[in-house]
Amino acid sequence: MRRLPHKILLIAKRDYLAAIQTKAFLIGLVIAPILFGGGVMTSVIAKRRPDIRPRRIAVLDHTGVAAGPVIASIQRLNQMELHDPKTGHQVMPEYSFETIASDPGDPNAQRLELSQRVRNGELFGFLEIGPGALHPTPAMRADPAAGLTWYSSEGGVGEVRQWLAAPVNDALRRIRLAELGVDKSRFNEVLANIGLQGMDLVSRDARTGQFRTGKRDYIGGTAVPVAMALLLTMIVIMTSAPMLPAIAQDKMQRVHEMLLASATPSELIRGKVLAAIWQALTTAAVYLVGAPLALKALDMSDLMPVHLLPWLIVYLIAEVTILSAMAAALGAACGSPQDAQSLNFVLIAPVIVPLIMLSQVIQQPGGSLATGLSLFPLFTPIVMLIRQASPGGVPAWQPWVGLAGVVLVTTAITWLAARVFRIGILMQGKAPRVSELVRWAVRG
C-alpha cells in the first residue's frame, strides 16, 4: 500500500493538467485582467491621451457684469494648464467662449436653444451665471439657477464642471472685493489658495532613531489595495468558479464512483483542492511576473507592494482552499448543470461581499466595520489584504489572528465538504434540500 499523500498528488496532478490544458484557462488568463482591470487601464490610457479638441462654451450672464471677468479667469487657467510643463505636450483642450445676453422674457426658451446647440455639437456646454451669483444668500439654495449652473452632455463626475468651479468663483470674488473697495493689488493675497498636504503618520526607526514621514500618496494609497483585492478576487474566481460545474459534470458522467474504490472521498477532495491551489499559483505567477512590467510601462513601479506579496500568496491559497472545497461539495450536491450555475453565485459570495464593501473598507481601513470583516474567516483573505495594503496598515497581530481563523475554517469546510461529497456524488436525478446537505455534513 502506497503512502496516502501519493493518491492526493495523483488526483491533483490529473485535475491540474486537465484544467490548465483547456483553451478556457488560457483565454481566461488574457480576458480576466481585461475585464477586471479594464476600467483602470482605460482611465490611465485616457489620462495619457487626453481629448484636446477645442471646446466652445457659452456664458449666459444674468448679472450683466460677470461674464467678462469669468471668461478671462477661465482662459488664464486654461493657458496655464494647456501644456505639460515637462514635455510641452498639450494635455487639455483649449477653450473659447461666447457671451449670451440674458433674455428676461423667457429664460427656459433661451436654455432650450443653448441646449440644442450643445446637442448639435456647436457648444461643449453653457455656463449660466444667475442673478444672485455675485451676492449669494442662503435662500438661493432652493433655486440653483439663481447662482451658478452648468449645462453639458459630459458624463461621469463632470470633470469640466469641477475644473470650472475654481476660476469662475475666483472671478466672482474679485468682483465682490472690488465692490467692497479693496485695493486691486491685494486681490491675489486675499484670494491665495493654500493646498492641504496630506502626510503619512510619523514613525521612528528603531535602529537609527530617525523620524520618518512623507507626503501621503492618496492615489497609490487607494490604487494598491484595490489592485491587490481585484487581483486576489480575479484569481480566486478564475480558479474556483469553474470547479463547481466541472465536478457537477463529472458527477453527471458518473466518473467518481470508480475512483472511490481506489481513494477515499477525503483524498479525492483534497486532491481537487490541491489542483485548484496549483492552478491559482500558476495564474498568480503569470500576473506577478507581468505586473512589474505593466507598472514599469505605466511609470508606476514604486506602487508595487513587494512586502505584501507573501501575504497575497498565503491569502490566495487560503481562499482557493475554502472555495474549491465548497465547490466540490456543492458540485457533488448538484442534480443538473442548471443547479451548478445557480450555486456558483453562492460559491463566489465570500469574494463578492468584500468587493461590495470595498469602498467602506478603503475609506476607513482601521474602522470597526473593516476590522470586523477582516477577522471573519470567509472574508479575511480579501479584507485583511486591503487593510494591510492601505496607508497605516494594521496592527501586527491582526493578520495572524485572521490567518488562524482562516486555517480553522478551511480545515472544517474541507472536512465537511468531504462528507457531503461522499454521499452527494452518488446521488442522481435530484438536488438535495439544504436540510439534507446539513444532515450529510453532520452525520457523514
Binding site: 500500500m1 495523483l10 463529472d250 464512483e257 474504490a261 481506489s262
Partner: protein, 314 residues
Amino acid sequence: MNAIQIQEVTKMFGGVAAVNDLSLSIPEGSIYGFIGPNGSGKTTTMRMIVGILRPDRGSIAVPGEKTNGVPIGRIGYLPEERGLYRKMRLRTLLEFHGELRGGLDVSGEVTEWLQRLGLAEWADKPVEALSKGMSQKAQFIAAVLCRPPIVILDEPFSGLDPVAAETLREAILELRRRGTTVVLSTHDMPTAEAMCDFIFMIFRGRKVLDGSLAEIQEMYGSDIIRLSTANGSVGGGHDFSGLPGVEQVRDLGQVQELRLARGSDPQLVLRELVSRTQLTSFALAKPSLHDIFLRIAGPASAGAPEVTNETPAS
C-alpha cells in the same frame, strides 16, 4: 478462507431498507454471482463492499485484515453506471487508475490488457472517441489493473455485443484462474449459471438464495419436464395447460417446459402426454436459474424458500 465476510448488514435509504440483515461469506478465489431484480439491493451491497457506502448496521470485513471494512486498494470495481474522464487519452487514463490503486509502474500491464481486449489501437485516443463497448472494456481494465485480490463487477456484460461479452467472460475466468475473487452481478441467468461458483439472490433487500447452482436447484427438486413433439411448436397444436399434475406451462418454441405441481408423479404426466401427442423427447429436469428467479421475483411469484444466513458457501 473467505475473501469477504458480510455480517448482518442493513442499509437504509429514507426509511426503506435497501439491504436488510444480510450475511454473506464470499470464498477466496471464487466467482460469486449476484442476481436479483432491479432495485433489489445488489448495487447497494456492492457499494458497501467497496466502501463507498457505509452499512447502518452490521459489518463487512476481509478476514485477516486489522481494519474494519475492505481496505481501499484491495478491490477493483466496475460500477454499474459507467463513467470515465472523457477528455483523457485512454492509456493515460488507465495508468492514472492503476497508479491510484497503488501501482508503481503500470504501463506494461496497461499495454498487455489493451492488447488482450483489442484496444491497443485506441491507446492514444481520447476516451470520448471510444464506442460504448470499448469504453466498457476500458473500464474493466481500469478495474483489474494492479491485480487486486478482489474484483467487483456490477453488470459487466450489459450493453456488450456477443463478441465483446465473450472476450470479457474469458478475461474474468482468467482472473479466477489467477486466484482473484470475483463478485459480479448480472441479469443474464445462463451467464450466472455457467460462470459462477456461487449464486446469491437478493430480493427486496433480503437474501433469498445463496449457494452453488446445484445446491440451489436441489432446494427446488426436479420438477420440470422438458419435452418436444413431432409436430413442432406449441405442443404440436395441443394445449397442455390444465394437464393433471402440471402447475405451469411455458412454451419456448421448439421445446415446452411443464412445471409439476408439488407431489405430482411425473410418470402419470408422461402417460397423459403420450395419450395426447407424439413426443420426440421427454426429460425430467431441475429448474433453471431463470425459472427459480421468476418463481421468486416474477409477477406470480410464490416467494422464496426460507434461506438462513448460514450460507452453503461458508
